[in-house]
Every structure is written in structure tokens, then in C-alpha cells.
């Protein structure tokens, strides 16, 4: 049996230098004459950011995982482990790695980081495309029934029951019908869809075929963000392999059903994640939403019934069909079955993709797989869930279980699953401004509440963070937020005020500090900072001096640093570098 060597080569792995690691590994194997005895498998990302992850699976030693691998580590691994049979202990993945993965239930991500996404045989060896035969045996009605019994709800944000969508489309009049996979993952801070497409593209294609069969569609589109070139490349490769195997592009023997998929590249517009805007974009227009009803299931692409599902939703389908609804619904809570993938990032120790059963608490996620705060001395301030549509939650809500209803009750939304941890150095008014700046930029401009209302809210937030705020501005934000929420045309506008409203609700003292005392307690808003060294706190370490790009800080060993305000460009590099809160 060959020794298998897995290298994580998704966008994250590649950006950390996986290509070079692979090149050196190939050279080393050749140099030692090991090429025939070893098989290199280029996988997608497994979901934990550890630069480059390399796994060696040998009959003698089992599986050994190495983390933070640089090209210069490779010769040692080859000589010691592959030739000598002794794993390199100091490079092995440690406790954090174990903790990160042991706290998860991996269904959707099971193949990510384990198989070669560019090789359909790898997917099929693990049971891939097995759901098709089962689905064709069951017939469309029973497939829909099975998905209904599983309790699967849309993973794109709103949590609409998947089976109902399928049924609407099936029952809608009009031919042909279409299936669209929404891979326009635009939430800043969410990247699970990209990882699935890069690491296990066939699972999405298989889900689309089953969806097409159940809904009565014969053509599918994957609408993918142009910012994801690797995902697009792997998806296109997977589609042509699936065609070659006969899963796509020709009638399935005996069923009369045939289905094909093509990829549509987005052109950079967040609003295209909204389903009617997405349809407009595929049709070649500006991606502007329209009022619903009619829903896409009735009148969608080219005016025909169209089923739109998100990537993660579709990746669940093959598991439900092969293992059954009962198996699937045994995970999760009453109203939210199965698992959810979260993109955990920010000031948390282990960042990456985490798949947990619905019903896990936010605390369980951050302090379980997440490993707690990145800086052990920093205190937790809040967690942002659901990106620009979601909200910031304080410590008192950390025991909220992760399910659609519980998260919505807090004022945030599940969204696509971004989760950013923040510590005392994150300013909540600044966070609100950040998200609003994003939604204002991405607003398509069609409806007034979103185009004008959000803009006014942003202007007010700018005044607050620049120290020109007044008490009544906070009331204005609340009122205008409520108006935009209830009157905007589409989901972008309906949810855009959430980051503002939740930060006002849960962190009122921060807004008060900006408005009344004209200070930013988190030392973020530059206009409210003095850029002066607090000598009582300064340990004379010189870190601020080294970080300053403007040459505005003078410091000598053993002396307090001094900031020259004339030269200071207020870039905050010194504040970020100082570990002692010695600059105000």
C-alpha cells in the first residue's frame, strides 16, 4: 500500500505557500527514490488556519498531521518520517488542532481536506453520487417528502424550509424549470461556501441533480462570486468530470430525466446574493432585486419556475438521501435540524471553519473548537454573527443556542454563518459604521429606504465616531433603523440596520461615551484620541517607535516614548503595537 500524503491546497493553504511545499515535497521524494511508494493528494482546505497542513498516512504509523509547514520543513519530514519511520514530533499538530476538530460534527465538511476535489473517483470512493440512484428509485415526490422529514432549512440566511421551496417549484406551471445554486457568498467574514466548492465540489453538483430531479428542472446554474477564481475552476472541472461519467448532460437510463449544469461568474455585487437580483444578473442585467411575489419558484429565470438554493444547503442533500431523513434529523434542535458551518475569525485563538450541531451555544463554539480568546489577557467584548445583516451580541448572550429562532430573537440573524469575535479593543460604534459603510456601498439604489435611509444613518454614525455626536442622534438611528427594516425592498435593506440596532441595544454605554464624554473607550476612533503616551503605563519597550511609519515617535532605550503630534498621521499603528494601553 502506498503512503498517502495530503496537502491542504484551497485558497487558504495556497495563500500560505502550499504550492511551494508541494513542489519541494515532489523534489524530495524523487531525490530519495520514493516517488513510486508515495501518493500526493492535493486537497481543499480542512478549515483550520495553520498555514499549510500536511498529513502523512502510512500503513505502519497511521495518520500523522503536521501544521505550520514551510518548504524548509519538508526534507526533515521526508527523511525522518518517510525514510526512517519516525514522525517529526516537533512539527506535529498540537492540542489546539485536536480541540478544534474534536468539538465538531462534520457532515458538509466531511470531505474537505480529505479528498482530491479535482478527482471524481476520490469522491465516488467515499460513496459520492450514490444519492442519485436512490433518488431515482424513490421518485420526485418521495424525495421531497424525505427532505421535508429531515427538517432541512436554507443555509443562506433566512432558513426557509428547503422541501417547501422544492415543492413550490415542482407544482408551478411553466416549462422549462431551472435550479440555481447561489454561490454569491458576499458576506465579509463568511467563506464556507467557497471552501465547500474548493474542497468538495461534487457534493454540490450531486445536490443540484437531486434538486433538479425533484423540482422537475433540467438545467442548472451555479452563480459564483468572481472573487473566487479557484472555486470556479474546480467547479468547472468537476462539472466536466460528472458529464464524462454520465451524471450530467444525458438522460438517466429508464427515468427520462436529464440534467446539466453551467457556471455563471458574478461581476462583483453583494446584492446579487438576493435571489431576484441574482436572477437579473444571470439574465445579463444590473443585479437589482424586484418585489416578491411572484417568487422565483413561480416566475424566476427567464420568467420560468426557478429553484434557488445555497451551496451549504445543497451539500447536505446527498447525505439526507443516502442516510435518510431520520439520521439527519437526529442532529440539531426541534426547529433547526442538522449542522451549521460557521466561519470563526477575529480575536479568537483558532480561526477557521467549524461545523457544529444546531443548538450548540455560541459560548460552546468560541470556547470549544475556537479555543477561547487569542490574547489570553484580553477580555471578551462581543461576537458579531451574520455579517452586515446580523448583529453584535454581548457576553450575557453567549449561552444562546445556535438555531434560527434563538439567534433571530437576539436581533442578529443566523445569516450565512460568519462569526467574528471581538475584544475590548473593538469599538462597537465603529463596527456599526463599518457594516453600514459596506451596505451603503453595496445598496443597489432601487428603493428609497435603503438608498437614502442607510446613507443618513451612516452620516450620523460618522458624526458620532468623530466626536460630533449628540444624544438625539442615537434616537434617530433607532427610529430610522426601524423604518428601513420594515420598508426596504429586499433582504439587504431589511437587515442592514441590524448591526446598528444591536450595538445600540447591547452596548449603550459605548455610544454614550462617544456622544457625552467624546472619548472612544476602545481607542479605535482616531478623532477621539489624543495620541499621547501615558507615562504611568509605558514600559519603555519601544514597540510603538518601531511601528510608527511616520517617524513621529522618539524613543531611546530606557526612556518614555514621545509622540510628535505635528508629524503624527493618526494611523493608530502605535496603539495596535502597544500591549500596555500606554497611548491614549
Amino acid at each position: 500500500m502506498k503512503i498517502k500524503i495530503l496537502i491542504c491546497m484551497g485558497t487558504s493553504g495556497l495563500s500560505a505557500g502550499a504550492e511551494k511545499v508541494e513542489r519541494v515535497l515532489r523534489d524530495e521524494l524523487e531525490r530519495h527514490g520514493l516517488t513510486d511508494r508515495c501518493e500526493i493528494v492535493k486537497t481543499g482546505d480542512r478549515g483550520l488556519f495553520r498555514d499549510v497542513l500536511v498529513d502523512v498516512i502510512s500503513p505502519a504509523r497511521g495518520r500523522v498531521t503536521y501544521e505550520y509547514i514551510k518548504p524548509e520543513n519538508v526534507p526533515l519530514i521526508v527523511e525522518s518520517h518517510l525514510l526512517g519511520g519516525e514522525p517529526v514530533e516537533k512539527l506535529r499538530a498540537g492540542e489546539d488542532y485536536e480541540r478544534f476538530f474534536s468539538g465538531q460534527t462534520r457532515i458538509v465538511l466531511a470531505n474537505c481536506g480529505e479528498i482530491d476535489p479535482e478527482n471524481i473517483d476520490d469522491y465516488m470512493e467515499r460513496g459520492g453520487y450514490g444519492a442519485l440512484k436512490r433518488a431515482f428509485d424513490m421518485g420526485p415526490d418521495r424525495v421531497i417528502e424525505e427532505v421535508r422529514k429531515s427538517g432541512l432549512r436554507g443555509r443562506g440566511g433566512a432558513g426557509f424550509p428547503t422541501a417547501s421551496k422544492w415543492e413550490f417549484c415542482r407544482n408551478a406551471g411553466g416549462e422549462p424549470k431551472y435550479v440555481v445554486c447561489n454561490a454569491d457568498e458576499g458576506d465579509p467574514g463568511a467563506f464556507m461556501d467557497r471552501s465547500i466548492l474548493e474542497g468538495d465540489p461534487h457534493s454540490v453538483i450531486e445536490g443540484m441533480i437531486v434538486a433538479g430531479y425533484a423540482a422537475g428542472a433540467d438545467e442548472g446554474y451555479v452563480y459564483c462570486r468572481a472573487e473566487y477564481p479557484l472555486a470556479i475552476k474546480r467547479l468547472k472541472g468537476a462539472i466536466s468530470q460528472a458529464r464524462a461519467k454520465g451524471f450530467l448532460g444525458r438522460p438517466v437510463p429508464g427515468s427520462g430525466f436529464s440534467f446539466d449544469v453551467s457556471v455563471k461568474e458574478g461581476a462583483g455585487a453583494f446584492v446579487c446574493g438576493e435571489e431576484t437580483a441574482l436572477i437579473a444578473s444571470i439574465e445579463g442585467h444590473r443585479g437589482m432585486p424586484r418585489a416578491r411575489p411572484p417568487f422565483p419558484a413561480q416566475e424566476g429565470l427567464w420568467g420560468k419556475p426557478t429553484l434557488i438554493n445555497n451551496v451549504e444547503t445543497l451539500a447536505n442533500i446527498s447525505h439526507i438521501i443516502t442516510k435518510g431523513a431520520e439520521w439527519f434529523s437526529s442532529t440539531g434542535t426541534e426547529g433547526s435540524r442538522g449542522t451549521k458551518v460557521f466561519a470563526l475569525a477575529g480575536k479568537v485563538k483558532n480561526t477557521g471553519l467549524v461545523e457544529v450541531p444546531m443548538g450548540t451555544t455560541i459560548r460552546g463554539l468560541i470556547y470549544g473548537p475556537g479555543g477561547g480568546m487569542a490574547d489570553p489577557d484580553a477580555s471578551f467584548k462581543g461576537v458579531q454573527i451574520g455579517g452586515p445583516s446580523g448583529g453584535c451580541l454581548p457576553e450575557s448572550l453567549l449561552d444562546t443556542p445556535i438555531d434560527y429562532e434563538s439567534i433571530t430573537r437576539t436581533g442578529a440573524i443566523m445569516g450565512s454563518g460568519g462569526m467574528i469575535v471581538m475584544d475590548e479593543r473593538t469599538c462597537m460604534a465603529d463596527m456599526a459604521k463599518f457594516f453600514l459603510d459596506f451596505t451603503v456601498t453595496e445598496s443597489c439604489g432601487k428603493c428609497v429606504p435603503c438608498r437614502v435611509g442607510l446613507k443618513r444613518m451612516l452620516e450620523v454614525l460618522e458624526r458620532i465616531t468623530e466626536g460630533r455626536g449628540r444624544e438625539e442622534h442615537i434616537t434617530f438611528l433607532r427610529d430610522m433603523g426601524a423604518v428601513v427594516k420594515s420598508t426596504a425592498l429586499c433582504g439587504l435593506g431589511n437587515t442592514a440596520p441590524n448591526p446598528v440596532l444591536t450595538t445600540i441595544k447591547y452596548f449603550p454605554e459605548e455610544y454614550q461615551a462617544h456622544v457625552k464624554d467624546r472619548v472612544c473607550p476602545s481607542l479605535v476612533c482616531p478623532e477621539l484620541l489624543e495620541f499621547e503616551v501615558i507615562e504611568e503605563n509605558c514600559v519603555k519597550c519601544g514597540k510603538c517607535f518601531a511601528a510608527c511609519p511616520a517617524g513621529a515617535i522618539t524613543w531611546k532605550k530606557g526612556e518614555y516614548a514621545v509622540i510628535d503630534k505635528e508629524k503624527c498621521v493618526k494611523c493608530r499603528a502605535c496603539i495596535n503595537a502597544c500591549g500596555f494601553r500606554a497611548i491614549k
Binding site: 487558504s12 500560505a16 463568511a190 467563506f191 473566487y228 455563471k264 443585479g287 475569525a345 494611523c571
Partner: protein, 157 residues
């Protein structure tokens, strides 16, 4: 590369009878020239019988289209949530200051373009800067300063 009328016409013909062809066609043209030359808008308008306003509507709506050539080095600063929390905004502001250009602009000598990107999906390496196709993680102002200086001196030498 100079836009060539006959080449653009060839690309247009490829899409003539396809539904929803406008966006993929413009993407094709851009992939050849690095931007969408204004002359091509008139050609498309004539060949496909669409008003120029509709084409400009698309070009200005989607952030991936460019109406002017971009710099030799395109610097993209990630402004995703994780990068923002970890200091991405300061890096963007700093670069804008240093290069003397705003977001989406190109330096006069055509060497650098500066762009923001909503999220690159490598939040574990935040803050992230991409120059060309090279990723730089855990960036600081000092680090990007060195990178830019190195690229600039590469041009001199």
C-alpha cells in the same frame, strides 16, 4: 495591449445568439485587455442592438469592471470583518496616503492601483493584502510599507 476592432467583433459574434450574454461578453473583453475599452461599448451597442446606456449601466454597477487600464501592480486590501477588526482599515488608509491615490484609482506613472475587496476568505491571516496574485497575511503598516517600497525600487532598477 491595444484594443483591436476585429478581435472585439469576433468576441461579440460568439455571444450574438446567447441569452444573458452581455455580462460574460464584457468579462471576456476585460480578460483580454485588463479593462473594457470605451470603443468596445459602441461596437457592442451596434452589433447586439442594445443601447450604450444599458452597457454602461452594467459596467458601472458591478465592481469588477474597469473602464480604464489598471496599474502594473494591483494592491487589494481586504476590508472583510475580520480584517477590519484586526486593522485592515488603517492599512488601506495608510496606502492611500502613501501612494497619493484613492480606492479604485491608479498612480499617474501607472505602477500601482489601489483597491478594497470585501472579503478574500482567508480571515485567519487577517489583515490581508494581495498584490497581483500574491497574498500577504498578518500585515502591519510597516510590512506593507516595505512591500510597496520594494516593488517601487524594482521599477527603478
Amino acid at each position: 495591449m491595444e484594443p483591436v476592432v476585429s478581435d472585439i467583433k469576433k468576441m461579440i459574434r460568439k455571444y450574438r445568439d446567447r441569452k444573458g450574454a452581455l455580462i460574460p461578453l464584457l468579462q471576456d473583453i476585460q480578460s483580454v485587455y485588463g479593462y473594457v475599452p470605451r470603443g468596445s461599448v459602441e461596437l457592442i451597442s451596434r452589433e447586439l442592438s442594445v443601447y450604450p446606456v444599458e452597457i454602461y449601466g452594467i459596467l458601472t454597477f458591478y465592481s469588477q469592471f474597469y473602464l480604464a487600464p489598471r496599474g502594473r501592480h494591483v494592491i487589494r486590501v481586504c476590508q472583510g470583518t475580520a480584517c477590519h477588526v484586526m486593522g485592515g482599515k488603517e492599512i488601506l488608509d495608510y496606502l492611500s496616503d502613501k501612494l497619493g491615490i484613492g480606492e479604485g484609482e491608479t498612480t499617474e506613472d501607472g505602477v500601482f492601483s489601489l483597491e478594497r475587496v470585501a472579503c478574500l476568505g482567508c480571515c485567519g491571516m487577517a489583515p490581508v493584502v494581495v498584490i497581483g496574485s500574491d497574498f500577504y497575511g498578518n500585515c502591519t503598516i510597516r510590512k506593507v510599507e516595505e512591500l510597496v517600497d520594494k516593488l517601487r525600487s524594482g521599477k527603478a532598477g
